[in-house]
């Protein structure tokens, strides 16, 4: 009996936490936004989301099996998240074949070319989204009106942010918060996305540092501009509730792999994402800047990790 005892260093117990648990937790947090996209965009949203998941999972499977020749990791759920987030970042009438190209860019270039989950520098879904935005600018920036408003869903309508740039009539704030506005699939409802945030904070999947520092930075920055020049395009509430800011701040910037490790680093990262987002929105060529801001700061993450340390025990603390 005795020689069968297992000997290993401590600790001898584990929390039971796992990568799939966290990934599926994020997926659960995405459910409210997904349900709302079904309500607003109808069947198109369902087809697009399922297709995007399928493309991402299949691409990851084949790339890992036949090119990297490693054990496929699709069961960890990360490819599903990439699929959902990619779909959430495109208009509901995007042709499926364009979506497939986006999925290939996301998984192939964004993730697997670096060696898979944990090694990628940039958020895969955003790599896919930006790839599509540059390659298919027309299709990516023409949003159908929500099916709620119009029987024919092929009529294109501008998002709130592009309306800001065009100085046309703005939708009501309540419709922006609830999400019955036109836009990409997952980014129309601030409330649904905030529900997801609350869930992830409750389940301790993420901490508040990244999303809150992004949202606070955007709010303060635009509020300062609004005080000096009260134009609607500077209204902080419109900025907070519109477009992909919530989606980006809550689900994309918080991607484990591509965001900083320390709390200080997370706040720095969130602050600059907020600043860059507002700059692109107000003075850039694109109506939406969150994706670019996040990917840019993804690139700075290793540097932020290098220069920030956690708050050490016993160091520069007030001794009571």
């Amino acid at each position: 009996m005795e020689n069968k005892l297992i000997v290993s260093p401590s600790p001898h117990i584990h929390s039971g936490d796992s990568i799939p648990k966290n990934m599926y937790g994020v997926l659960i947090a995405l459910i409210p936004a997904f349900l709302l996209s079904l309500y607003v965009f109808g069947l198109d949203a369902l087809i697009l989301t399922l297709a995007s998941i399928l493309f991402c999972v299949v691409f990851e499977y084949f790339i890992s099996k036949f090119i990297l020749k490693s054990e496929p990791t699709i069961s960890d759920g990360s490819a599903i998240i990439t699929g959902v987030l990619l779909a959430f970042n495109v208009p509901s009438n995007l042709p499926i074949w364009i979506l497939a190209i986006g999925a290939l860019a996301a998984i192939g270039i964004g993730k697997m070319s670096f060696g898979g989950l944990g090694k990628n520098i940039f958020n895969p879904a955003l790599v896919g989204r930006i790839f599509l935005l540059i390659s298919f600018p027309a299709q990516m920036t023409t949003w159908p009106a929500p099916v709620l408003e119009s029987a024919t869903d092929a009529i294109s309508s501008a998002t709130v942010l592009s309306q800001l740039n065009l100085s046309s009539a703005l939708p009501t704030l309540s419709s922006m918060f609830v999400g019955t506005e036109s836009g990409s699939l997952g980014e129309t409802s601030a409330i649904a996305l905030l529900l997801g945030l609350i869930y992830m904070l409750w389940k301790k999947i993420i901490t508040w540092h990244i999303p809150i520092s992004i949202l606070v930075t955007v709010a303060i920055f635009t509020a300062i501009l609004y005080i000096f020049d009260p134009q609607p395009q500077y209204n902080p509430i419109i900025h907070l509730a519109s477009g992909g800011l919530m989606l980006g701040a809550i689900f994309m910037a918080t991607d484990y792999v591509t965001s900083p490790l320390t709390k200080k680093g997370m706040v720095i990262y969130g602050f600059f994402i907020g600043i860059i987002t507002v700059c692109i929105r107000l003075w850039g060529a694109y109506p939406e800047g969150v994706s670019f801001a996040i990917v840019l700061m993804n690139g700075f993450t290793p540097l932020i990790n290098y220069y920030t340390t956690p708050k050490r025990f016993g160091e520069k603390q007030k001794n009571g």
Binding site: E2, S10, I13, D17, I19, G118, T207, Y256, T262, F313
Partner: protein, 452 residues
């Protein structure tokens, strides 16, 4: 003095990191039972941090319970006494808790004859007229070491370096390791003795204030201690939020006083000295009853164990005897651990003798004994969030793996208290602490070499 008023409403705790594993205190509330005397004991000569003892007995010598058999050499060392009466069989290498074969005195037991100087009565003796110096000498003579598991000689802790003086004594009744209940049970059954021990320690280090920290999962002990503390001026009871590793010396000082001991410094640098409740009880027995440290309370527990229990065992009793009291080794046994599941040591066999630092024997079923396969780090930062020392475990693991020692030193790898919260938490099952322990040893060596 009772429970300090503010604390009735808010539980204190340490400020950085921490985890809350399933408590699994299966043996809670089980009265301490005396283990039968074994036929033979193996008493290791190195049961403490510091130099091993010099044996002062030889084969054939007759010893009594409490006879000095190993003399401490040097300042950081502790005497060893016989835990039984009988005849010295031999002095030989025996596998001890460390897993290595080291010198031990092996004694064949014959009867149970105690040294006549030991007061075996149960009556509480509160009054102590000894001076501070005499108390410390008596503690050193009795071979008392930190009984929470660290086994640092107690008299050394009570003798601060010149120029430093304590202003608070903290008694550690936290027992934050899951499964273990030996301190809890001792607090319930020997509460008054622990208070007297605390008074003696206060006198030894000349402080007017002592705080006994107890985690809130031991409400009965908190209530009992709060009641008794009314008749002990200067001693206060502080309930603490249940959080691991609160029993860590630095974490406990932070929780109770709000002072943080700087990296590399001793608790005395912030004016605090910490002693475990088990140690405090041993101090009482040594000073008031002339009883050297030769027995202790051991929790024998595990999910498959028939009768999880708290046992009073003589030092040198084989673990196997105690496991038999708990109903024998379960059929499904994967691992046997000396200590708790977070910081305990896995044992190669169960013939290992109980030592002064053996707080528990934990038996883990085979389904929970093996680690899951390690995955790539997903940089979730959970290890960073739980580290109670404010370190970056995933970075320290990488720096160790790639042997970048200068950066590991700058990243304070030597501050690690090896609590295991990082490995416990990691969703990718990465063996963070294994690597950090390795790197910490390496960097400590480099730092030491540079000083010389």
């Amino acid at each position: 003095m009772g429970i300090s008023t503010e604390n009735c409403f808010m539980l204190k705790t340490f400020r950085i990191g921490g985890i809350h594993p399933a408590e699994n205190k299966l043996s809670a509330g089980k009265k301490i039972e005396n283990a039968a005397l074994p036929a033979q004991v193996m008493i290791p000569l190195a049961q403490h941090i510091g130099a091993p003892c010099q044996p002062i007995v030889k084969k054939g010598d007759k010893v009594k319970v409490g006879t000095l058999i190993g003399k401490s050499v040097g300042f950081v060392s502790a005497n060893i006494h016989s835990s039984v009466s009988g005849t010295v069989n031999k002095i030989d290498k025996v596998t001890d808790v460390s897993g290595y074969k080291r010198d031990a005195v092996i004694i064949d037991v014959d009867g149970d004859e105690w040294e006549p100087t030991i007061d075996r009565s149960d009556t509480l003796k509160r009054e102590c007229r000894l001076s501070s110096k005499e108390i410390v000498e008596k503690i050193a003579g009795a071979g008392i070491v930190g009984m929470g598991g660290a086994t640092f000689p107690t008299h050394v802790k009570l003798t601060p370096p010149p120029g430093l003086k304590a202003n608070i004594l903290i008694i550690n009744g936290v027992e934050c390791e899951p499964y273990l209940t030996s301190d809890h049970e001792l607090m319930l059954e020997k509460a008054e003795e622990i208070f007297v021990g605390t008074e003696i320690l206060m006198k030894a280090i000349d402080v007017k204030k002592a705080v006994i920290g107890i985690e809130n999962n031991k409400k009965d002990a908190i209530a009992r201690f709060a009641e008794i503390s009314k008749s002990y001026p200067g001693i206060e009871v502080q309930p603490l939020k249940v959080k691991y590793p609160q029993g860590g010396e630095k974490q406990l000082i932070d929780a109770i006083t709000g002072r943080q001991v700087p990296g590399g410094a001793l608790p005395i640098s912030v004016g605090a000295i910490v002693q475990n409740v088990g140690t405090t009880f041993a101090v009482y027995e040594a000073v008031q009853k002339n009883k050297p440290l030769f027995e202790r309370i051991v929790t024998v527990t595990g999910k498959e164990v028939k009768n999880p229990c708290n046992v009073r065992a003589r030092i040198g009793t084989p673990f196997k005897n105690l496991i038999d009291i708990a109903g024998g080794l379960p059929g499904d046994t994967g691992k046997v651990i000396s200590g708790g599941p977070m910081m305990g040591k896995a044992l190669p066999d169960i013939d290992i003798p109980v030592a002064k630092g053996s707080s528990g024997i934990l038996i883990i079923p085979s389904s929970e004994a093996k680690r899951k396969a390690m995955k790539d780090c997903i940089r979730c930062a959970k290890c960073v969030n739980v580290c109670p020392m404010g370190l970056n475990p995933t970075l320290l693991m990488d720096l160790t793996e790639f042997q970048i020692w200068d950066r590991a030193e700058k990243q304070k790898i030597t501050d690690c208290i090896e609590c295991g919260s990082c490995s416990y938490t990691c969703p990718a099952n990465r063996p963070l602490l294994d690597y950090i322990r390795l790197g910490k040893g390496k960097v400590t060596g480099i730092v030491r070499a540079r000083k010389n």
